[in-house]
Amino acid sequence: MAEVTISLQRRLRIKIFILASAIFFAVILMTLYFIEALNQTAAEKNLSLKHRVVEQTFNGYLARAADEMKFIGQDLALSNYGVGRELDLLFSHHEVLLSGGVDFFYIEWADGKYSMDPRARLFTKVDLQSVLGKGMINRWASIVTNDDSILLMFKKQLFSSDQENIGFLYGFISLNDNLTLANELLESAQVSAVRIYDNAHNRILLEEHKTGVDLSGATLHSRLPLISPIKADLQLDIVQKHSFSSAILANALPLIAGVGAVLCCACFLLFRQIRKLIFQPLESIAYRNEEGLLPYRELQPIQLQSQQYKAFIEAKEHRFKLLAESIHCAVVFCTEVAEVELINSEAKDLFPDADKARTLFDFMPISCHQSIQEALKGEVGVSFELTINSLGRIYQWQAYSFKNESDYRGLLLVGRNVTQETRLTWQLEQLQPLSSALQKKVDTDDILDELRYLSSLPGYIDSTHFRGWLALLISVLDDISSRGGKVTHLPIGEVFCQESARVMAAMGVEVNRTLLDCSVEDGARVTAIDANFRGLIRVLFMMVMSNDMAERRLTVRFDGTKLDMIATHDMAFRPLFDWMIKMLLTHLGGQQKTLQNNAMQINLIMEELGFEVSFEPLARNKVVAWVANDYPNPDVIKAALVRLGVQVEGYVSTDSFFTQSSAVAKFDAVLIGCDKDIAAQADMTQALKLKYNRDDLPIVWLNSSLPIEVDPHVFTLQGCSFDYNLHQILLKACVLDGITPAYSNEQTSSWVMVGGSRITKAIWFAELEKYDVTTQWLADLSNYHVVLSYHPDAVVVLLSPQPHTLLLSIQKAFPKSRLFSVQRWPEMPDNVALFDMTLPYSGDQIRHFTQKVIQQRTDSRSNE
């Protein structure tokens, strides 16, 4: 939910505006009310004033009538009219009386006579004598006659010139239908209705209202006693129409507008004042940078608080800066876009361009950009090492991401100067032999464990094996303890050959106990080899070979310059191996890890020779015979040979080779396997030598364990048989002439020459060549079995005397063989045919001999 912010000023403004509006309307209503009230009051006052006016008009009317009466009275008193004629004379003299206030009059003379104004009959029929008693001298009296005539009566004394009373004059005003009086009353004060009421007798004396005026609406009444010369308790009511008119609004409009304007101005001024007096100081708190407090008491706590906070923050910042400067680390704070926020002096020293740079990436080396970006993405535990070459320092950097005040991810880079440590490490490694030696000292426990393991092995271990084992261990330990040593550049396959041969020799195990998986290409890589590496290989071989697992495999692969070696490992824990490998790896800078199947993987960066060693592949269409004999796992060899790209002809044994190889035109190499039956291997070699009558045959011996006595002319495979090894040996073997198995037995007779001096042999060899005789040259007949087994019908020529028994046994074993002796010697057996020749052997003798033998042979064959 978004935060809703409220503007105090706006709220105050709205509140003030509402208040002002309320005040405005209240003032308007009050104004209207007061104007109306004032109007009403004024109207009422006006009405009371009008009341007086009406009253005075009424009194004036009466006074006029009284004056008329006085006039009539004086006229009557002074003119001395004759009795009975006074009325006529009065009317004839004073026409004015007809339009006066007095309606009629009545004269009562002192002598009891009376004269009555004839107009009296217009107003009343009653005898006026009856009402005269109610008259009062010089005063008006109101009387109502029996015929409901309402009359006002004025009585006046008539005095003669000598102040003698001559009678009374009565003047009457009739109020019935007295339009003149009513109209005068109405018009005098412009009232709507008028009424004169006699309170004493509860009767209305006069009532009139203006025609065309509706008095049913709002009216103003004034009911006050009528102060008049009439001797009665009279009341004058006047009514005036009064109505609320829109004129009030129109009249009040300027006032309302004024009030509105004043209120607007007041509001405006109030807003201004409030803004000036309250909000500007409030704002100035926020925007005020300088020290000191604003002089407003209410704001001082806030300011003090914020100053306190500021002081806290400054103190913290100060401490933080001190800390940042004093920890001897390079500290860089940056924002989410890698802009530098804070950089301490050490970091500045490292990156002098930091001031000019926009982001971290502008001055940090590219190698660490990825780490920084990862940290910016929020990864934890990002660290990298940076070597500042220009300063010669190494910094270990830790990147910490954090949420900054804007809730974005910032980054803190702390670079710890590890130059000294690194240097010390190096120095310690190099300068402190004691610790190095200590490190190189075998852990006694490991050795004891190893010995305990060996002692607890279920099978019998012969002494050779154990001796070899110890020798190997010691050799490895020597390698470990010997620093550096001589570095040679060898193909790595060669090293494997040598070391495997060494281990096998020492431990007395078979070649094929270990399956070394090393391709020709990998094996041909020439690398710098030192004693440590050799030791490592040795340990690996020891480990693999002493393995009781079904598969004892050592895989060697190059991945670029990285050498991967995977050695199957014994299930039993033998810490001595681990320790040795670790020690060796430490020197070699390699890594080791244990795979899932308990195999150990070792990675090494090998230092390769600068130049490429020429790799000699085998020539195409080479045919190789693989005579397995009792060699274990012959298929492995066969598969390896196939991998090498040669045509492999497999034979189970020597016999099968000799009997079945006729199909093959030529063997470029013959691989003879052997496990225990060393004689068979040697015999076959001898046989071939004899057969082809030469020593440099391309014969390769594959022995599970190298025999002590090896034919010097054969090639032997040192150590494990693996691709590279085979390849190398084949290369060598193929240099020699191949073996052609066909015709040798059929067309040429095989002659075995035994003994004789070198000169003798040479003479014989030269002479026999002429007869197309293949010869095998033997020093003696000790190995006759091997030779004769391939050539049972051979012609054995004894150039020197041979033991008697031996010759007999030969005759017995190979009855088809024919023995010839060219020299006589004692105890020559019978089976030896003597063809005596005189020394030195001449060509003729030999030719003769040869022809004779071939003749014999041909004869014998034909006989057969």
């Binding site: 009008k50 006016v53 009585k155 009373n165």
Partner: protein, 367 residues
């Protein structure tokens, strides 16, 4: 606009009022009833004041810084019984009230040449109080200048009809009798006492305060009682014209009763009747005591008399001054009591009544 209108109305109204005022005295004067109705506060104050007047004197409590200067304007003969009675009673009461005062008496002798020096002297003397024993048109205008300034303060003696037009600036006090009440009382008594066929004549005063208050009212009352008044003559208010008119009446129409509208006329009438002879049965009425006083009653020439408590007026003047000095509230109108004294009253009762009416100046009346 409104003010203009109200001004116009006021102008019209005052114009009408003045024209009416000349014609009709009834609108100018108020009787006591109207006055008390108009000013209800005055009723209780008047009652309190009546009590004060009728009570024994209570000396003034405040101390005076200087003597109060009082101007008293008397009319007619300075040595007349009435004037002397006023002075005696007033001085006596003032002394009893322990008020330090200086009384200056002035005299308007009703000379035909109208000597107005007394008025000028009085105005120049600048007294604290002016006591006016009679109010006519001239006195009225003379007093109005003082009333407006309310310095000196005016006390109207023997005039109990407040003037309507003086309501804004009333005198300190109207002191007098209710003439109307007295007249009605007298008319009623005479109507009851006189036989139906009694021939009544009337000597009335010309139009004026007393003429209106007493004479016209008496005639109206008689007309109300259906008494025919055979002859009515208007004469001036003095003993001689009364005597002369009565003589003429007695000679020409031999009336049984002659109504005298004032004490002077009454004295003239009595004198005329006495001149007629002892046998004459003609009677008249009186307004107060004559110089002869009680003897006229004895001679039966006076049928009835209205006896005014005249000393109360002087006492009221003194008390009013005292209250004013003390700064206390007082009414603006004091009506003193009056009573009808019939001729049949025995002499002892009469003497007691006279003593009651003139309890301060009784020795003047009884010599």
């Amino acid at each position: 606009m409104r003010r203009l209108r109200s001004f116009f109305i006021w102008v019209v109204l005052t114009g009408i009022t003045f024209s009416v005022q000349a014609a009709n005295m009834t609108l100018d004067l108020m009787d006591s009833q109207d006055f008390y109705e108009l000013m209800p506060r005055q009723g209780p104050l008047a009652e309190q004041f009546t009590t004060i007047v009728n009570s024994p004197p209570n000396p003034m409590r405040v101390s005076q810084k200087r003597a109060v200067r009082i101007a008293l304007l008397l009319f007619g003969d300075m040595n007349s019984l009435e004037n002397r009675s006023i002075l005696v009673t007033f001085r006596k009461r003032m002394r009893e009230l322990n008020i330090d005062y200086r009384l200056d008496t002035y005299n308007d002798s009703f000379e035909p040449e109208r000597d107005l020096t007394a008025y000028f002297k009085m105005a120049d003397a600048q007294p604290d109080y002016i006591i006016m024993t009679k109010l006519g048109s001239m006195q009225r205008r003379f007093l109005e200048r003082f009333l407006r300034l309310s310095r000196p303060k005016v006390i109207l003696y023997n005039f109990a009809s407040p003037l309507t037009h003086w309501m804004n600036h009333p005198p300190l006090m109207y002191i007098g009798f209710d003439q109307k009440k007295a007249t009605i009382m007298l008319a009623s008594y005479l109507d009851r006492q006189l036989a139906k066929d009694t021939k009544i004549s009337a000597l009335v005063l010309p139009a004026g305060y007393l003429g209106h208050m007493r004479c016209d009212l008496f005639l109206d009352e008689m007309a109300k009682y259906n008494r025919h008044i055979s002859r009515i003559r208007a004469i001036s208010d003095d003993k001689a014209s009364g005597f002369k008119a009565a003589q003429e009446l007695l000679k020409e129409s031999s009336p049984d009763f002659i109504f005298s509208c004032s004490q002077s006329i009454s004295e003239g009438v009595v004198a005329a009747i006495q001149a007629e002879g002892v046998s004459s049965q003609v009677q008249t009425n009186a307004w107060g005591l004559s110089v002869n006083g009680i003897s006229d009653f004895k001679s039966r020439k006076v049928k009835a008399s209205v006896l005014f408590m005249e000393d109360d007026l002087s006492i009221a003047v003194a008390e009013a001054i005292k209250l004013d000095l003390e700064g206390r509230n007082m009414p603006n109108l004091y009506i003193a009591n009056s009573m009808l004294v019939p001729a049949e009253l025995d002499s002892e009762s009469l003497r007691l009544m006279v003593q009651q009416a003139h309890h301060y100046s009784v020795e003047l009346w009884q010599k």
